[in-house]
């Protein structure tokens, strides 16, 4: 991985500060203006950043990163954020939640790299990061002590290849892991080394003990369907989004739900709309109340919505290069970010999207967006 040290040094201390209220998913619509949206992004000169903005489109901070970022994680205490490098990543950084000031860079352990995602234990004391044991390609959960400078405490198996997103089931000690099933190696970048033996799976583990509690795979017909991203609802249902690595003329389902009883099912949508997702979901999210599932496809330039309780498909909206998606403080509404079209608000009931301040389009927004 190439890191532009000079550029990073210039930007490392750069952060524009502004206060915002630390409430995520607050049911009170009056909190809408104070919610902050944070995403990794790039500038026109090729520099990589993490930036936060509010509903009005006002930038709160922009902090330089050592390289391209991927997911962002809010510590349960609400004071700081972690930004993970895009896979194969060699770092994650701690930044302040309000001003985005850089607090620490944590390196990947020897012989391991990050996959771009992590999850905090409910008490906030442990961080689990999806990692690759480079020598063997085995998937790992790296375990870090969040109370001690993210000292690496050890690792445990992810029970699959290429773990990507992780999600704790709210109010429990159980975590769901999306094992993408794809083996890669830093020497060959993102090249898929096991196209003929992909083995994606959705597993549920108890991280505190390392126990495997449940495992779901979709069988040989969907062997090339890489399970990538997760969004957990408070009732223990987990929405998942997939990317097909198989025949581009196939039309596999891409979005599903893992029910609290450990059974997975795909969500229906018209075949033409499924085709419009171009066999690729980049991010998945639930709205404030957990009733609407949103799945973005930058390849198709589309976001698609489902009513979660009924599984009913609600339609799709077009936005070029859309990928980042986060719930707003308003029910049935999402904030969407794009690599080439800025940021737009999408009330699910409306066909139209509403662009935020034009200045946000100066940035090329990356894969994920979170609301904090």
């Amino acid at each position: 991985m190439a890191i532009d040290r000079r550029r990073f040094l210039i930007g490392a201390g750069a952060a524009l500060g502004a206060a915002f209220a630390p409430r995520r998913g607050n049911a009170d619509a009056s909190s809408a203006a104070s919610l902050l949206y944070v995403g990794a992004c790039a500038d026109a000169a090729g520099g990589y950043w993490v930036a936060g903005f509010d509903r009005a489109g006002v930038l709160s901070f922009a902090t330089a990163l050592p390289g391209r970022g991927h997911d962002i994680l809010l510590h349960p205490d609400g004071d700081e954020l972690l930004v993970f490098a895009r896979r194969p990543g060699l770092w994650f950084v701690r930044i302040g939640r309000e001003k985005g000031e850089l607090r620490q860079i944590v390196e990947a352990a020897a012989g391991r790299h990050f996959y771009g995602h992590g999850a905090f234990s409910p008490d906030g004391k442990r961080l689990y990061a999806s990692e690759n044991l480079i020598a063997t390609g085995d998937g790992l959960l790296g375990i870090y002590d969040a109370t001690d400078g993210y000292r690496r405490l050890g690792e445990q198996p992810s029970f699959g290849i290429g773990p990507h997103d992780l999600a704790y089931l709210p109010g429990t000690d159980r975590m769901v892991i999306a094992n993408g099933g794809i083996r890669t190696h830093p020497d060959t970048g993102r090249e898929i080394l096991n196209p003929d033996s992909m083995a994606p799976s959705l597993v549920t583990v108890r991280p505190a003990t390392g126990e495997l509690l449940n495992e779901v795979d979709f069988g040989p017909a969907l062997r090339t369907l890489s399970i990538r991203h997760l969004a957990a609802a408070t009732d223990g249902t987990v929405a998942f989004g997939c990317q097909s690595q198989g025949d581009p003329f196939d039309l596999p389902p891409l979005v599903g739900l893992l029910d609290p009883d450990g059974k997975a099912r795909f969500l229906d949508m018209p075949e033409t709309d499924l085709g419009a997702l171009a066999n690729y979901v980049g991010s998945i999210e639930l709205d404030r109340d957990g009733t609407v599932v949103a799945a973005t496809s930058p390849h198709g330039g589309m976001v698609a919505y489902w009513d979660r309780p009924s599984g009913r498909y609600l339609g799709r909206r077009a936005m070029s290069d859309v990928c980042g998606v986060a719930p707003t403080a308003v029910a049935r509404e999402f904030m969407l970010t794009s690599g080439n079209s800025g940021v737009e608000l999408s009330p699910v009931a409306a066909e139209a999207l509403h662009p935020l301040a034009a200045g946000l389009a100066d940035w090329s927004w990356d894969n994920h967006l979170i609301a904090v």
Partner: protein, 362 residues
């Protein structure tokens, strides 16, 4: 391949870099702000692309699609020579191939792009949509608004090609009890194509359209247009390379799938390929033609275009035998070269960051 537990040499070097950063990056820095660098003036580039590429190509598409609609109307009323429908189809399909590269602008509103053509076709979507359409009781009485609510796979050129050129469908269009119904279906599709093409052409040149907004001198609009169109340019290489060539060729002759070639029923898969490359060449010239970096991209595309000249009308069967595969591989090589060069230079020359999620997501 080396897989040491401690990581490879390159891996270790990168790790040392992070280590150095760790030490120095935490020192207090007083350098203000992280605003993106200002891009170069993109206004003249955007105007040139709009005036020399977008407007004339959509105007041609609107003209050809209107002529095709009229041809179907005449055919349905007078039973005119079916060759007139063939000709009208070829003209419209060519005009579409010349501008299908573009997703930015009015064509991107709603699902207009998909309604113009539905390719790649998955799970026989076009067949299923056409079958459902033909099962309708009163196609002659169906309004354009009602037709717009039917499956998008059955609304565009892909469905029209199936209706007109598939041998069984062609027979049923000219004789037999279903001829009138099939004619009505063709007219509905052609009317929809003409309507969308006309609307898109008008909207581009409207007083509040994209071109007018450029004339108002808003640099943000110019930047957005150039960024989006450059993203479309780089995306066409994926469509042409991965879908139109790779997926047809397969990894070997045994795995080739010539029946999937776009436009094979109307024997214009090679033409579609060539027009895609020609559109990419013209867009490259207009976007970065003044840069020396453009020359090798244009050369690769020129070579690819010349190679497509030698192909039969439908290149699909070439994928089944070694000599044909070699021919296609040469074209694919030029496409890949143009793609790699473009990825490396187009954003840098224009000073923009393209939509990297669609080009390189995770």
């Amino acid at each position: 391949m080396q897989h040491p537990a401690s990581g490879t040499a390159g891996h270790r070097r990168a790790r040392r870099s992070v280590g150095l950063l760790l030490v120095v990056a935490l020192l207090p820095f007083l350098v203000p702000t992280g605003a993106p660098a200002a891009p170069p003036d993109l206004q003249p580039i955007a105007l040139k692309v709009a005036q020399e590429f977008v407007l004339p190509r959509y105007m041609e598409l609107a003209t050809d699609a209107a002529a095709e609609r009229d041809a179907w109307d005449r055919f349905c009323r007078q039973g005119a020579d079916i060759a007139a429908l063939d000709h009208a189809y070829y003209e419209t399909a060519d005009a579409w191939s010349a501008i299908e590269i573009l997703h930015y602008g009015p064509i991107g509103i709603g699902v207009r792009h998909e309604r113009m053509a539905h390719w790649p076709e998955r799970k026989n979507a076009v067949d299923k949509a056409l079958t459902a359409l033909l099962a309708h009781d009163d196609l002659a009485g169906m309004t354009p608004e009602a037709f717009a609510q039917t499956s998008v796979a059955g609304q565009g050129l892909s469905a029209l090609e199936r209706l007109l050129f598939d041998p069984e469908n062609r027979q049923a269009l000219t004789t037999g009890p279903e001829a009138a119904k099939r004619c009505a279906a063709g007219k509905l599709i052609a009317t929809s194509l003409a309507t969308i093409a006309g609307e898109v052409s008008l909207e581009w040149s409207a007083s509040d359209g994209p071109v007018a907004s450029l004339g108002a001198g808003d640099p943000a609009k110019a930047k957005l247009m150039v960024t989006r169109i450059a993203t479309d340019l780089l995306s066409i290489y994926q469509l042409v390379g991965d879908m139109k060539l790779d997926a047809i060729m397969g990894e070997s002759a045994e795995l080739a799938r010539p029946a999937l070639a776009e436009g094979r029923r109307s024997a214009r898969s090679s033409r579609a390929l060539q027009l895609d490359l020609e559109a990419a060449r013209e867009l490259t010239r207009l976007l970065i033609g003044t840069s020396p970096d453009a020359a090798p991209i244009l050369a690769a595309l020129d070579e690819g275009i010349v190679l497509t000249d030698a192909l039969p009308p439908d290149f699909g069967p070439l994928a089944l035998e070694p000599a044909g595969r070699a021919e296609l591989a040469l074209i694919r090589q030029q496409v890949r070269e143009a793609r790699d060069l473009s990825n490396a230079t187009v954003p840098a020359v224009l000073g923009v960051t393209l939509g990297f999620n669609s080009l390189d997501g995770d």
